[in-house]
Amino acid sequence: DTAVSQTPKYLVTQMGNDKSIKCEQNLGHDTMYWYKQDSKKFLKIMFSYNNKELIINETVPNRFSPKSPDKAHLNLHINSLELGDSAVYFCASSQDHPLAVAKNIQYFGAGTRLSVL
């Protein structure tokens, strides 16, 4: 069983379109994350949810909107896609606790490669 699964694996779309990426984890974790990995392989955090509550919201265009229907799912919706949005998007989860770094081991999905044409 895949612990953190993302769909789709590849997404090719035109500029201006709206698209969604889905993420599900079966680890029973309380916290989920979205990261963006650009062409230089730099992984940057975008959002984090703990028990469906937004706890990290980095400087990300408001065209990106995360949604967490329950603690096992965190989806990412992107409006009006731009060329610069092309990247690999990773979902991750952890059994996070603010006082316990040991529980912050983050488990990543395989990524969604988004190409905006």
Binding site: K41, L43, I56, F90, D96, A102, A110
Partner: protein, 110 residues
């Protein structure tokens, strides 16, 4: 200003040729330093967490160490299957916000 810097950017090793990767960080209140391995087309895979200066952890041919300013990932007698990009990340705040370095791409040739 970069908080996590990894060097070298790329490393080519012969099988059995040991080497070290460096991760230097400038965060003020380090809560944890993480090493991940990333294979092409896959997500990062957790390797180690280090919490305080002087700590060391080992797994097969890999050994991670931590000082107050940097961490090293030592690869002893590497094999081709150790080829991957190794990522370092630091946690500074209370929640799980990780700052990643750009990674070191390691290629081990037979």
């Amino acid at each position: 200003e970069d908080q996590v810097t990894q060097s070298p950017e790329a490393l080519r090793l012969q099988e059995g040729e040991s080497s070290s990767l460096n991760c230097s960080y400038t965060v003020s209140g380090l809560r944890g330093l993480f090493w991940y391995r990333q294979d092409p087309g896959k997500g990062p895979e957790f390797l180690f967490t280090l919490y305080s200066a002087g700590e060391e952890k080992e797994k097969e041919r890999l050994k991670a160490t931590l000082t107050k300013k940097e961490s090293f990932l030592h690869i002893t007698a590497p094999k081709p299957e150790d080829s991957a990009t190794y990522l370092c990340a630091v946690q500074e705040g209370s929640w799980g916000k990780l700052q990643f370095g750009a990674g070191t791409q390691v290629v081990v040739t037979p």
